[in-house]
């Protein structure tokens, strides 16, 4: 029945189904990029990195192991929590407290014969460029925007136009409830995570005065306990959001405040949700998004079918709340992207602002989201968060207005943040008086 020959590598019987597709061209295969005779072996020799061994990460490891990849690394600093067990299917009750990366790697190695999985139980920021340079593809299943931005900036910075191996395709997945997204990034060639940052705007913070004097919602009472009461009473030396005793303390405080203001709705689960910023997560959605990511990794590695990323669509949005929708489209690269673009991004500011107001604004602007910015103008340093001596020296600038600091319309500033050690974000000041 076969319409063309297959070209297996090791274990031909085991990979029967995979070889039919990966070693034979289909109607959509690009013949210039595809050589079926070598593809199976090439994939076996590739090194692929999985970032995150959580809900998406467990799925990613399973999917890659069953997509013909034999040399997989996984990196995650987290330990297993009981609330992971409803979806992180490589973990059992007895694994609670152990390293996610190590348990996940061991499980998949044992289940799928011949696959080698190397676990790294650490932060992604602890690894250097040499580490990331050894992989051909990076797949990300993270729940933090910061970590995504860090690996994105790192991979973009690693690109050396003269070295083909320095381009590492980045595939990134994310989920929330019944929704999620999968995207493919070819660093410096297509739109990067920083280009797409405004699609994931941070939630607006509740004004401090609302928390302090006019709470109206149960969340306001919980934030009050978290931000104000905790600092005032310091019941434990340091807040550990995973310690039930600490959460219970916050819950009781929030409950008292809610009683005082007759606000209904404070519960333990809500307290935990607000304080830890919990995002609902289920196995089914992780299954969809991780598989979408690995399907792209498989196509990129084999060229047996066109992948997302280039030249057309690079982003798939998925929503299962109401019916099922996917929206697969092309997100354009931005010339003023602070990470992959050449132009400084325009930043509308009021010249009457103090430098402090400018510094604070970086955290909440959807296009910046920098929590600890240090700022340099073309000719001088305006404010440095560290080292301490420089911070002290530049601190007086915080109370000066932008005009007083000699800044001009259209002037470029450089912003760095400890979360993105290697990157300097370029912005161009656009003066606009607020009304």
């Amino acid at each position: 029945m076969a319409t063309a020959e297959v070209y297996p590598a090791s274990e031909p019987e085991r990979w029967t189904y995979l070889d039919r597709v990966r070693t034979r061209a289909g109607p959509f295969t690009n013949p210039d990029a595809f050589d079926g005779t070598v593809v199976a072996e090439a994939v076996e020799n590739m090194k692929i990195l999985v970032i995150g061994a959580g809900g998406l990460g467990c799925e990613l490891l399973k999917n890659l192991a069953l997509s013909g990849f034999k040399n997989i690394h996984v990196i995650d600093m987290d330990t297993i929590d009981i609330s992971n067990l409803n979806r992180q299917f490589l973990f059992r009750q007895a694994d609670v407290g152990k390293s996610k990366a190590e348990v996940a790697a061991k499980f998949v190695e044992q289940r799928v014969k011949g696959v080698k999985i190397t676990a790294h139980n650490c932060k992604i920021q602890e690894k250097d460029e040499d580490f990331y340079m050894q992989f051909q593809i990076v797949v990300c299943g993270l729940d933090s925007i910061e970590a995504r931005r860090w690996i994105n900036a790192t991979l973009v910075n690693m690109v050396d136009e003269d070295v083909e191996d320095s381009y590492k395709p980045l595939i990134d997945g994310g989920t929330e409830g019944f929704k999620g997204q999968a995207r493919v990034i070819f660093p410096t060639v297509t739109s990067c995570i920083e280009c797409q940052l405004d699609m994931h705007a941070p939630r607006a913070a509740v004004p401090l005065c609302t928390l302090a004097s006019i709470p109206r919602q149960p969340e306001h009472c919980i934030e009050w306990a978290h931000v104000i009461a905790w600092d005032r009473e310091k019941p434990f030396p340091e807040l550990d959001k995973d310690d039930p005793e600490h959460i219970t303390w916050l819950y009781q405080k929030a409950l008292l405040r809610a009683h005082e203001f007759k606000i209904p709705g404070v519960t333990y689960a809500l307290t935990q949700g607000v304080v830890k910023n919990i995002i609902p997560a289920i196995a089914a959605t992780n299954s969809v998004i991780a598989a979408a990511c690995c399907n792209e990794a498989f196509k990129i590695a084999t060229n047996c079918a066109p992948s997302l990323g280039y030249p057309d669509a690079n982003y798939m949005m998925y929503s299962g709340n109401d019916n099922i929708y996917t929206y697969t489209f092309r997100h354009e690269k931005k010339d003023d992207c602070p990470v992959c673009g050449n132009l400084a991004r325009e930043l509308v500011v009021d010249p009457a602002w103090t430098l402090r107001e400018l510094v604070d604004s970086f955290a909440v602007r959807p296009e910046a989201q920098l929590k600890k910015p240090s700022i340099r103008a073309e000719s001088k340093t305006l404010y440095m968060q560290s080292p301490k001596s420089l911070e002290e020296k530049t601190r007086p600038n915080l109370d000066k207005t932008l005009i007083e600091l000699g800044l001009a319309n259209d002037e470029e500033i450089g912003v760095t943040d400890p979360a993105f050690a290697t990157v300097s974000f370029k912005f161009k000041l656009k003066f606009q008086k607020s009304e």
């Binding site: 029945m1 319409t3 019987e13 990979w15 029967t16 189904y17 039919r20 034979r24 289909g26 109607p27 959509f28 399973k62 999917n63 192991a65 069953l66 997509s67 609330s83 409803n86 979806r87 299917f89 044992q110 799928v112 014969k113 019944f178 006019i214 109206r216 919602q217 959460i247 219970t248 819950y251 409950l255 009683h259 203001f261 333990y268 689960a269 935990q272 919990i278 995002i279 609902p280 289920i282 196995a283 089914a284 959605t285 299954s287 969809v288 991780a290 598989a291 979408a292 399907n295 498989f298 079918a305 669509a313 798939m316 299962g320 709340n321 109401d322 019916n323 099922i324 996917t326 697969t328």
Partner: protein, 538 residues
Amino acid sequence: MAEIVMSQTPPILHGPSEKEKKYDRQLRLWAASGQAALESANLLLVNSGTGGVGIETLKNLVLPGIGRFAIYDEAIVSEADLGLNFFLDEDSLGKARSQSLTAHLLELNPEVQGASYPDEEGVTDLQSLLATSPMFTAIMYAHPILPEQLSLLQTYGQLHKTPLVAIHSAGFYSYFKINLPGDFPIVDTHPDETATTDLRLLSPWPELVEFAKGMTKDIDTLDAYEHGHLPYVTILLHYLEQWKESHGGAYPLTYKEKIQFRKMIQAAARTDNAEGGEENFEEAAAAVLKTVVPPSLPSGLREVFEYEPKETIEERSSFWIIADAIKAFHAKHKALPLRGNVPDMKAQSKVYIQLQNIYKTKARQDAAEVLVTAQALEPGRHFDLAEVELFCKNAPFVKLINATGGGGNASPGSVDRLREVTAQEFTNDESAEVTLAPLSLVPIYLALQATSHVVSASADDILAGIAKVVPGASDNERVVSAACEVARAEGGELHNIAALTGGMVAQELIKIITKQYVPIDNTCIFDGIESRCQVLRL
């Protein structure tokens, strides 16, 4: 001081149970009621073909704690199974596939029960399984399936009103099709919170009018703090009255009038302060377009109102009786029962809580009226107030899936329906370049469907099969490509496509079992080459 504080603490403060901890991330989506529904569900998977997609689906249902599952699978584990299915290993080789799969799936969640068939205790075929097993909540089957097995399942589904889910995954393609036993209404659809604001500013009831008047009667002489803390609802109500006075008693209803009204609000904000404006007036201005609206009847609810269920009144579920009661409420009041939620807005705590209570009280009164009407419609039946309240709260968002009849279309599942939809999709595709709409995925469905009962087929065989079902379709260039792509896989699954499809099917089964969120109606086709899907009613 500490003692006083503690004595005010409410006495019961137990933290979450172990089970609540384990299921925390999903309870935030479907709550204890949804979890209870999952835990009492009993699913059957009839596994055939290469056997990947059904197991990936089950994995995603065992993890969140489905009550019980059964796998019927006649295959013996081969080497090729190990390259596709994660829930098999070296030790499984040569053993019954259903047994190894069941054992490995059960490791995922000790609270779930599972069984595998055929077994050694007399259940040797599908027929005897269906005859002896406890009632199934839903049945999934993977293509290619033997025609005689399929007809057994269809008979069972009709007899017991069991939802059937057909799944087919091959190479980069898949589809699944949900066959619900009848109309399927959903109340708890979880609309986006931002879409639910209903403030009734154009038809305020006496308590709300009185409250707003009390707050705003001296609006021009209020001190800065009070003026800056008027909740925007009262600001809008106050200036709507002013507007009416200068517009012959009419409300601002057109877009142009609303823009003018918004300017009126913006102009009323005080600017003689440090901020140069007032946040509550900004909120009021921003809310004009969305909240200054007359009551309307959303299309989903209109469909429910106009629908005639096949059953007699006595046989109907309480959903239909409550829907009739709400219809009567709407006819009488020219508005739906009030949802009763008030979005957060700048206001003093006490004032906001008062306002919230005015809305909540009205919502409770409306629900109580609906309950009385429902009881009058069906005097012998008991109606649960909580159910009526949930329906009233969600009335604008209720959805009816799989409504039968109406529309003049051929009925779903029929060949006529498939021909009709295919013709329509091909017509749409002709103008796709102009409309920028994505091209139809119906070619994928046609190509997979042509291999519903055979392990594999050549592209020519597939095209011949398509031509028999939908004459002319096999000439379509995209259908030819889809047939080649399906032939390439020779009935083999790719794990990624199986996992992705299994995730979607699991989401749908969760929605159907919990009766929360909105399931598809009725077929979802996935293209793993372009990474997108399309839902069609076939």
